[in-house]
Amino acid sequence: MSRVKIGVLQFPGLNCEDETLRVLDFAGCEGKLIRWNEAATELAKCAGFVIPGGFSYQDRVRAGVIASKSPLMEALAREVESGKPVLGICNGAQILVESGLVPGKEPGRVDVAMARNKTVGREGYISAWVHVRAGSRANCFFTHELEEPFPIVIGHAEGRFHTRDERLLAHLDERENRTLYYCTPDGDEATEYPFLPNGSAGALAGMHGLDGQVLAFMPHPERAAWLWQVPEDIEGAWSVQRRAAAMAGDIATRPGPGLAMIQQFSRLSKVESV
């Protein structure tokens, strides 16, 4: 059975492409690295895309903005119009927001900023395990059947979803409208540090484009795709699973909480791949 081909877009300075390719393989997909200077026609060969994390163009001017102007992003926007899903992780999320693909209320219009982390008791770069959960009305390709809160790792300095669009803010007031939001281990909305690591509007960890096919997600699912990556001491059921698997000696190949999101790509296997 052929595996669905997923393009991993790389811009100068992104540095999580190898991990992302490995996780796509673990999720039953075939990852294909597409560099920023390759022909845009390469995109047509893929059924979906990931923009991985890192520091595209060294975050010059503003995280993600230089890459967002790339011709490759223009070509990606055309692929999105044809219905292909795109997952932006961390810097990839910042690129999607800067390119107007998220929230995508009007094609290419930039309606959201990824501001510097700023929450009560904490500012600046943060690398930590947090909990997130999906809003039940989000209708996003990547959160399909993702109901329970799950632990995942973040590492960013500019991850605070921020907008001056009052209508968008009003929409985010209802947590079930949010794609993915930071929460406590029990699943309650995070309102303060450390559960809310960056002060994001609506405690957002991820935001999708209008049709649900594009997701800008600040945490790193590829760093939580295997059970062995989960800390033993994190609160909740996943660390219990991890300790049990370690005792049983089969931890190396067991899936972690971040895999489910990547596995959504395998649902595309029924779609004819070019």
């Binding site: 163009y57 060294q58 001017v61 503003r62 102007k69 223009e74 309606d111 001056r164």
Partner: protein
């Protein structure tokens, strides 16, 4: 009691400005419509009073928090009355935002400083000589949220003073006249869509123009 502002610019190539300029020229296809792009750090310290403006300026120049003489050039100014308070309230940086030159280490600007011609100094600082038909337009870009910080203790004439930081962008571009240059520069400055604007994100940053667009002097005019 006065507010003190100062500008700091790298002595060598500014990679951030260079990358942004190339993205405008090449990626967004503007070509030689955009001739140059410069970026300065702008800091405004509130109500300095424990020493004279000159002593403050010397302290800033000798302390490497913002300024390293091996890497940067600087100019300091007494700000317009009420500058800091206006900015702190998330308002625009006031215009004129500078009142009096205190010091600069740029030899090409010393004459302007000695003559006390603030406009000459600013024009010389913000845009180098260019070609005929080029205009320079400068904008101050600042965080819309409360970006007030406090000076750390030590090395300063006083401690606990508040300060604000912003970026001064100067775009040199070809245009038919000053008004067209101003309008076009603003389009390039503010990110509206994937294909227009780059330097300021309007959902988290504000901006204000520094004066009108200025015709750039040509190299020949400067040499003469």
């Amino acid at each position: 009691m006065s507010d003190l502002s100062f500008l700091v610019r790298g002595r060598s190539v500014d990679l951030v400005a260079m990358t942004a300029r190339r993205a405008l020229q090449t990626t967004l296809g503007l070509g030689d419509e955009v001739l140059d792009l410069m970026r300065d750090q702008l800091v405004c310290i509130a109500g300095v009073e424990d020493a004279s403006a000159a002593e403050w300026s010397a302290a800033i120049a000798s302390h490497q928090h913002w300024f390293n003489p091996n890497k940067h050039r600087f100019a300091s100014f007494v700000s317009a009355d009420g500058a800091f308070a206006a900015i702190k309230g998330n308002g625009d940086w006031p215009s004129p935002w500078l009142r009096e030159i205190v010091d600069t280490d740029r030899p090409d600007l010393v004459a302007a400083r000695e003559s006390g011609k603030l406009e000459d100094l600013l024009a010389g600082w913000m845009a180098p000589p260019s070609e005929a038909g080029a205009f320079a337009v400068s904008f101050i870009a600042y965080d819309l949220e409360d970006g007030v910080s406090r000076l750390p203790v030590g090395h300063w004439p006083g401690s606990g003073y508040e300060f604000l930081q912003a970026v001064l962008w100067t775009i040199v571009l070809r245009a038919e006249d000053a008004a067209a240059a101003r309008a076009r520069a603003e389009e390039l400055l503010v990110t509206r869509t994937r294909t227009s604007g780059m330097l300021v994100h309007p959902h988290m940053e504000g901006y204000t123009a520094v004066g009108a667009a200025r015709p750039c002097k040509t190299t020949t005019e400067v040499q003469a």
